[in-house]
Symmetry: C2
């Protein structure tokens, strides 16, 4: 008789955003006349940039013509895209990353969930708390996290690094030594980040204790302050200890297009074993490339027109972020983030739990946000709003919140 992966049974409840979707759906069904404004899930609303649309039409036409038709893509991604990434995202910033170290994928969610596979079952992971749920859940499924304490909302074999008002949302080196350290900077969900100097300390720490940093740079395009690193490879020694994940979802609005990449430097080794080779083997065996049309769309984000158009999109969302931050401050809220990231992290008022505040906001203002507790125990008492709505909806949501 076949046996299931028992680790799945350990997962508490369902994935955060599925739960929110169900709650909103139930409310909408019961109150069909109410107009909901969604500032919850980190999904974009602006259409794709004209340069991207043009590139996709061209690629679609190529696929309709025998002479220019493309079948299976190269395992690691087309060279035209990997070269553009190496040039524009790395070399232009002084980071020595070559196309052979870049693996094109269908998005950073898949990569951040799959990357743990090349590590053994007995690695100890460290995560910020609050944290993007995929890092922990993918390790739960792999049996790496121990026993769940439903009361505390923590796993016995996970090292949590609390990020709260008290430490200015800067994670501290844990007391126990981790093997894999997940860092998302600028941070989802808190919208805060750390300086290049602080990141260098993490790189030094990882090299010293023999840990790998899994660095999720999905929100890099929103960085506005010069002292914040755009890539972990801006730090000395990062190539021997860090894997970087990138997404086109937030900088180019590709949430429904699906494109991302992962950098695994050649210098990153465990004894003689190259992690770059291991990840290449995983790609070759378990993945068949991102669509040609989508890779051409990715390439278009690096053209002069594409770059200019994306800059405008990011500016549009950051105008929302500033409006939310200032509006909430005026309304008396304590708020964080929104300067180097499209997320605003607020302290819930009057000691409400974050799910209480979720229900309160949904029912009284018809605004959907994300409860901080959904991201981990240290997220309790906080709440996330995203800047990804339209400007009009963002202002409308603020008016409703101010009236409460």
């Amino acid at each position: 008789m076949f046996k299931i992966n028992e680790n799945y049974q350990k997962l508490p409840g369902s994935y955060l955003f599925s739960t929110i979707a169900k709650k909103v759906s139930a409310y909408t069904k019961a109150n069909p006349e109410k107009e909901i404004i969604r500032l919850g899930i980190g999904d974009v609303t602006q259409p794709l940039a004209p340069a991207v649309i043009e590139a996709m039409h061209k690629a679609v036409d190529e696929m309709g013509n025998a002479d220019s038709f493309r079948g299976y893509a190269p395992d690691l991604g087309y060279e035209f895209l990997r070269n553009a990434i190496a040039e524009h995202d790395y070399r232009s910033r002084g980071c020595d990353i070559s196309p052979e170290e870049i693996f094109v994928s269908d998005g950073a969610k898949s990569d951040s969930a799959n990357i743990q596979e090349i590590f053994g079952p007995d690695n100890r992971i460290a995560v910020c708390d609050p944290v993007y749920p995929v890092y922990v859940d993918s390790n739960v499924m792999a049996g790496r996290t121990g026993v769940y304490d439903a009361q505390a909302g923590t796993w016995s074999n996970v090292i949590y690094m609390p990020c709260t008002m008290e430490n200015n949302f800067v994670p501290e080196f844990p007391k126990e030594t981790p093997d894999l350290i997940y860092l998302c900077l600028p941070n989802n969900p808190t919208g805060t980040t750390i300086t290049r100097t602080q990141l260098q300390e993490w790189v030094d720490y990882a090299n010293q204790v023999g840990a790998v940093i899994i660095y999720d740079a999905a929100y890099e395009a929103y960085i506005s302050e010069p002292e914040v690193a755009h890539s972990i490879y801006e730090c000395q020694g990062a190539k021997t200890c860090a894997i970087e994940l990138k997404s086109y979802s937030k900088n180019a609005g590709f949430t429904g297009v699906r494109l991302g990449y992962t950098v695994v430097p050649r210098e990153l080794k465990c004894g003689e074993v190259s992690l770059n080779h291991m990840w290449a083997r995983r790609h070759g065996t378990k993945f068949n490339g991102a669509p040609y049309i989508v890779q051409r769309a990715g390439e278009a984000t690096y053209s002069p027109e594409g770059k200019a158009q994306l800059k405008e999109q990011v500016a549009y969302y950051m105008k929302n972020a500033a409006a939310i931050k200032n509006g909430l401050k005026e309304a008396g809220y304590t708020v964080f983030g929104g300067v180097n990231a499209p997320y605003i992290w607020l302290k819930t008022p009057e000691q409400m739990t974050s799910w209480e505040f979720f229900d309160y906001l949904l029912e009284k203002a018809n605004v959907v946000g994300t409860p901080g507790a959904g991201f981990g125990p240290s997220g309790e008492g906080y709440f996330r709003l995203t800047a990804f709505g339209s400007y009009e909806n963002t202002l409308a949501a603020l008016e409703r919140i101010k009236k409460l």
Copy 2:
């Protein structure tokens, strides 16, 4: 210090098609004047059907407009596509499969590699020999296959079901009881298949011993004989023991577009645990949906125009298959397949090993095929040619082979 997944070190050599690509690349470099004809990897050559191209252009335009822009897709796929699949691929054939049992993905390669994750580490897998390498390699990476015997080319903990001339390429029930049974029918690489009655025996066997059949139906569109099932759910009782994988790569030429789906019936359970729920949880946690544009492309394959155009494409490739089969027979080869599948499986001449025959064909005829031994020990002495080339190239390749 972090630890790697040691199972990766057990994998012998590189993925079959990467090895072939390297061999061909080396030959081309040394002989730049030679014109290579590729009948090796199962990649299509005909452009996408006009109905698909039209649907993609329309979807690209939608993504460029704020009112019709789509962000994250629903976890399991858009309803428009899942409804079309349920209707056209199942209900029209009398199979009781609902949209809730269908999970849209970026292709059958990912699904066939990932599906093992929802099963425990101590399941015993059974595979046909020869076999599509991904089934075994994904289980090696998960540590389920035991020790590799390089001499025999087999894993100590895998049950092999030889499919050769001697048993007419029909797998027999194994002596040891398996937990997971991989069946690809019509078969890659042999191009052969079994009847609906024979498949029913496998379903009965799986239900009896408590095994799950992972049924890869990627080549279903090529079935020409009425006694061959298009879906395992045509068999009584399949919903309690079978997961079906489907691809748009071969019926619609989507190898570079990336779309597939997996059916996990609600009735498929381990005790009280629903495998449908487990796979939904995996999708929600580790995947973010296939691109909107690609899902619209998939929907277009079910329109009357789309269906008619795909039928023509399949007929085009099957004309190639018939030409290869008859041409090789005339040249004195012993050949199989090519009737319900786009693959021709031939016995290598003069006791050549299949890699010897690969080199011989590459060097003497500049034709690339796939050595049978790359698919498993019982593939030794056989060789695969695909019908996915252009008709002109297929005839040219045959002329070259006949001249040898």
